[in-house]
């Protein structure tokens, strides 16, 4: 299996080697909603290198989120194994991974706590883990929010800021925990094109600084190629890796990339594969309803 090996980076702030290599081996997940077995993921294998930006695309309902949930520890797996940096997260003896700040999730609809200001939201992780006092955490939070261009709104509530700002703050909230892996489940789905491109630039800027492993689920193929080192196309349910598209474009990347020939070719390649699966998913859906 080809991998883009980014060197493991030592993070001067934490003094810890931030690795974040994920190994997904023969993972199968069977749900049992209402007594009807649903095979969400079947024999899926995937190796993610430390510091890699791994984009997962595929038709709706194919099981991508199930994989993310398994890595995060929200759902158990039926069989197979997932390792993080060589240590088992979940496997035959332990189907449900522990949740932890080494793999932080950013959700699709945003999960900033509405009753805390942005700064308090960002400070949440270190405070509950006890790694910083409340005052330290808050200072660090304000500092990191300023780096993300959010210093003006650090004291505001999520309900008072735009969704773009809220989403950026949520990513800062994840990153303050210095995670090994950043798990993103279609975080920019509900945004317009312009906001999205700002989000992309912001994320890339953050990635260039921290080199955290990113596991990013999306439907937007251009987003996938633009951000990713590799794009993994999943089959329709049950999910399995169908095709891996290497994006060997240098970093740092900017929006001018979007009109380049190289970019277009990669998007077309990915589109073909996804379209095949989307058609299958559509037909399968029709059969289920019929």
């Amino acid at each position: 299996m080809n991998t883009v090996s980014a060197p493991s980076v030592s993070n001067p702030q934490a003094g810890v080697m931030t690795k974040g290599a994920i190994s997904i081996r023969n993972v199968t997940k069977v749900y049992d909603p209402g007594g009807v077995n649903v095979l969400a993921v079947e024999d899926c294998s995937l190796e993610i290198a430390p510091g890699e930006v791994c984009m997962i695309v595929g038709p709706s309902g194919c099981g991508k989120t199930t994989l993310l949930n398994a890595i995060a520890g929200f759902h158990s797996i039926t069989s197979g194994q997932i390792d993080l940096d060589g240590e088992m997260l979940c496997g035959p003896s332990k189907p449900l991974a522990d949740q932890g700040a080494d793999r932080v999730v950013v959700f699709q609809n945003g999960a900033l706590f509405p009753w805390k200001t942005l700064a308090d939201n960002v400070a949440f992780g270190p405070v509950v883990q006890g790694t910083m006092t409340k005052a330290e955490a808050r200072d660090k939070a304000v500092e990191m929010l300023a780096e993300a261009g959010l210093s003006n709104v650090a004291g505001k509530y999520p309900g008072e800021v735009s969704s773009g700002m809220a989403r950026r703050a949520e990513i800062v909230r994840a990153l303050i925990n210095d995670p090994k892996v950043l798990l993103l489940d279609e975080p920019y789905r509900a945004m317009d094109g312009l906001t999205k491109s700002i989000m992309h630039e912001s994320l890339l800027e953050v990635y260039d600084r921290t080199k955290v492993t990113i596991f990013f689920i999306t439907h937007d193929l251009e987003e996938a190629i633009f951000l990713g080192d590799r794009v993994i196309v999943m089959t329709t349910r049950p999910a399995r890796t169908k095709k891996i598209v290497d994006v060997k474009i240098e970093r740092p990347r900017d929006y001018r990339l979007l009109s380049s020939e190289e970019f277009r070719v990669l998007v077309e390649e990915t589109k073909e594969a996804v379209h095949e699966e989307a058609v299958k998913a559509f037909e399968a859906g029709e059969r289920e309803l019929a």
């Binding site: 949740q99 999960a111 706590f113 009753w115």
Partner: protein, 280 residues
């Protein structure tokens, strides 16, 4: 320049703002029209010689106001306020103190819920007023028996709201918190509790209204002498017994006022406790 303009804008008092607001004046006009129609309807027999159905039997606003100016000089009237308010607030606060933890415990712990929700749901349909006779027998003083009934009124409401509110907190908040290393205690204290606050205040506001309804009926039924007597409900009832109809209406309006003040208080406290909610 702009800053100065903003400053003066903020210093404009609420009263001044109201006087220039069209909605405020519409409300005022509507109330005046209502009062005028009421006056005409009640006085129709005296003025025009024919009796308007229903309204004709009620004392006109002018009589009510006249009676009110008289009533406010009676210490007994203010004592009624004091007694009713005391019963309402004590019963209400007891309901919150018992009901909020009870509701949260049921929301969070499925064994607790399995054990306590069925009896709770069975007792809930019994109206608090139906408890009055049992309450009078059971509690040593009439005062306590009235307070127990007001307690029940607010208790069911707050528990249902807290239970519903806590269980409808988006699971993503809990997951996000857990993936950042929150313990069970953190989840409860930092996610579930603030997430349930809006439901707590809704339950409190509705429960407050119910408490007033209940205290009145409780006083009407049980109040009969000095002990346990008095209160605005008793005031209405004894006015009715004495045939002083305009005094009955004075009592009715007094209670409306008391209920409004209580609800406003709760809404205000809600605003203070939940600064992230722009509208309560």
């Amino acid at each position: 320049m702009a800053q100065a303009a903003v400053k003066t804008g903020k210093q404009k008092s609420i009263i001044l703002k109201s006087l220039t607001d069209l909605t405020f004046w519409r409300g005022v006009v509507a109330i005046i029209v209502f009062l005028v129609l009421w006056e005409i309807g009640s006085q129709a027999k005296n003025w025009f010689g024919f009796m308007v159905p229903f309204v004709g039997k009620i004392a006109p606003p002018t009589d009510v106001i006249a009676r009110w100016t008289e009533v406010v000089t009676w210490p007994g009237y203010w004592e009624s306020w004091y007694l009713s308010t005391g019963r309402v607030f004590l019963g209400f606060i007891a309901a919150q103190v018992v009901g909020i933890p009870f509701g949260l415990a049921m929301a969070v712990n499925k064994y607790f819920r399995g054990m306590f929700f069925p009896p709770f749901e069975i007792l809930r349909p019994i109206p608090p007023l139906a408890w009055v006779p049992a309450s009078i027998i059971f509690w040593p003083t009439t005062e306590l028996s009235i307070m127990f009934v007001t307690f029940l009124g607010a208790f069911y409401t707050i528990v249902i709201n807290v239970l519903g509110g806590a269980r409808s907190i988006d699971i993503q908040y809990l997951r996000a918190a857990q993936s950042m290393g929150a313990s069970q205690w953190d989840l409860f204290y930092k996610i579930i509790l603030p997430g349930t606050l809006p439901s707590i205040f809704i339950g409190a506001a509705v429960g407050m209204g119910i408490t007033w309804e209940v205290v009145l009926a409780g006083e009407m039924i049980s109040g009969g002498g000095q002990q346990g007597g008095g209160g605005l409900g008793f005031f209405i009832w004894s006015s009715y017994m004495g045939g002083v109809m305009d005094q009955v209406i004075v009592g009715m309006i007094s209670i409306g006022l008391a209920g409004y003040i209580s609800s406003s208080l709760i809404r205000y406290i809600g605003k203070v406790c939940m600064p992230w909610r722009r509208m309560f």
